[in-house]
């Protein structure tokens, strides 16, 4: 019964979280001093023009009604109208996501691949000089801020060697290769520090499993090191590694915002910062909600995956409900 109800409770708790987050985002913005209509029209606007704009923006209604309109609008894909650009927010988001989505995707894939490989490798080489050297490098890379790494990479690979563009985004219209080339350096700058963090956790997770008695048994059965690693160690250590990945994704999204700024990429991060500086409330709300929603959904998915990959947790007392 518990297992049967579990998916509903799980999805339900995610939905509650999203609704709470949207409430926080909406009502924190209504605390903003000043009248958006006055900001848009200037100080010497006529009272009747102000009233008309109030009505058009829905600001003459009570706050709960405004929230209801905003939230139901979101469900229809209507994110409101940008104050600064005077275009629908979703068209802005759609345009900017063409940069941010590939960037975050490439960086995440690179970070997870590199982190897992390095972590497993250093764990199998535990105690050797090679392990020590890699651990030193990992400890150092963990301490490097991604935007500083981005600057150094631009200085070296873009300005001195001219291998990659130093900034800006070529756009997808002129073919994928130019666009991808302008994403390589930002993705590397984002991925390396996160890969270092992941490599460290992976190393400890793998070592913890390697020390378990059942690994000794597997070796005593005559399995090769490779079989031990692939069949017994990795499946057992993957869930705890996934938990770390799900904690890293919010930081990676934060990093995307910063690194987009270094490379002058017109992504969602740049849009959010412009909107913060211009107090373009609908755009701030939409960007923040988008990022928070990605984190909430991502956490849910990875937690579910973690459960699926660790049957020993589910067979416990009553599993790990959300």
């Amino acid at each position: 019964m518990q297992n049967f109800l579990w998916p509903f409770r799980f999805i339900g708790s995610r939905l509650v979280l999203l609704i709470l987050a949207s409430l926080i985002i909406f009502f924190s913005m209504t605390l903003l001093p000043g009248d958006p209509a006055e900001v848009l029209l200037g100080v010497d606007a006529q009272p009747d023009t102000l009233a008309a704009l109030h009505h058009q923006l829905g600001l003459d209604q009570s706050l709960p009604v405004q929230y209801w309109h905003w939230a139901t609008g979101l469900l229809h894909g209507n994110f409101g109208q940008s104050y600064g650009y005077n275009v629908p927010v979703w068209s802005l988001l759609l345009e900017r996501l063409q940069v941010s989505l590939p960037l975050a995707g490439i960086a995440l894939t690179a970070a997870v691949t590199l982190g897992l490989l390095l972590g497993v490798f250093t764990a199998t080489q535990r105690g050797t000089w090679l392990d020590l050297a890699f651990m030193g490098a990992i400890q150092f890379t963990k301490a490097v801020p991604d935007f500083w790494l981005a600057m150094l990479l631009t200085g070296f690979f873009a300005l001195s060697l001219h291998w990659f563009p130093a900034g800006g985004f070529a756009g997808w219209e002129q073919g994928g290769s130019a666009a991808l080339r302008s994403l390589v350096l930002p993705a590397v700058a984002l991925a390396l520090p996160q890969a270092a963090v992941l490599a460290r956790y992976t190393r400890s997770a793998v070592i913890a499993v390697l020390d378990e008695p059942f690994i000794l048994t597997a070796r005593a059965h005559g399995l090769s090191e490779r079989q031990v690693l692939c069949r017994h160690v990795l499946p057992r250590s993957l869930p705890s590694v996934l938990a770390v990945v799900s904690l890293q994704i919010p930081l990676l999204l934060s990093g995307t915002i910063i690194v987009e700024n270094v490379f002058n990429l017109k992504g969602t991060g740049a849009l959010l910062l412009e909107a913060v500086n211009q107090r373009d409330v609908p755009v701030v709300q939409a960007c923040v909600l988008l990022i928070v929603a990605v984190v909430v959904v991502e956490k849910g998915l990875l937690q579910w995956l973690e459960m699926r990959l660790s049957p020993w947790l589910a067979s416990g007392r009553n599993g790990r409900a959300a």
């Binding site: 963990k142 935007f147 915002i257 984190v295």
Partner: protein, 281 residues
Amino acid sequence: MNILKRITSDTRFPSLGLALGSACVLGVLVPGAVLWLAHLHATFGIDIHARLKPPTFAHWLGTDPLGRDTLAFSLVGAVNSYGISYLSMVLALGLGTGLGVLAAAAGQKTKIIANGVVELGIAFPPIIIAALLVTLCGAGVVQEICALAIFFIPGFVRLGQQAAANIYAQDYIAAARLSALTPWRILLRHVLPNMVPGLLVQFSVNVALAMLAETGLSYLGLGAPPPLPELGRILASYQVHIYDHPHLVAVPGVVVVLLVLGTNMVGDGLRDRFARQEHIS
């Protein structure tokens, strides 16, 4: 039991990481603090004739685009950045652990609330919290400290809750209850002192993470407003000189790396030391 004694007590292997880490952090912060005090009442003088000078005896690493001493400016920025990260973590430690311990000590309802806070808080990355706060109240030191603290509170809630729950399940707590100690006395005398090692490790690891987040925020202009030097904003202002004067970008960056690396090493060293003591005792 005395926590200071446990950290400083002579074990067979003096921890190399702990010593190296402290050296990195203090090597930046001690000269930084001296310079910080020297510049307490006077902002850094702008000398446009002395801009972008190469290293000399008076200015060890040359001067920046506004004629300030690059090294001194970076070190003062480091003190501000580290101070902000440290204060925000003290705030997060206090609030987060407090809520976590309460959740462990009290009933199911508090536990549900604490879980909700954790889940909700984790969904907001630090830059998002800062963006919301800056849109609302403008940029400022207090906003920056709050943004960082809010992001790290959930981690401390979770850790505090787990650690306290583990301790409450121990036999000596049952013994303390049987000897009719009040819940408050049990909490203060038996639960909290035993949580200190774990919290100390988490604290130093989080100070390093907060430091990275802080430089990111101030780089984007979401940190403290301009007269206060902060490493992120210093890096942002030197960024255009990456090609003609690369050392300008290198100096504040190396300072960040030294502080984060050192703090991480202190955290790891403390963890190893506490783990060894658990093992011995």
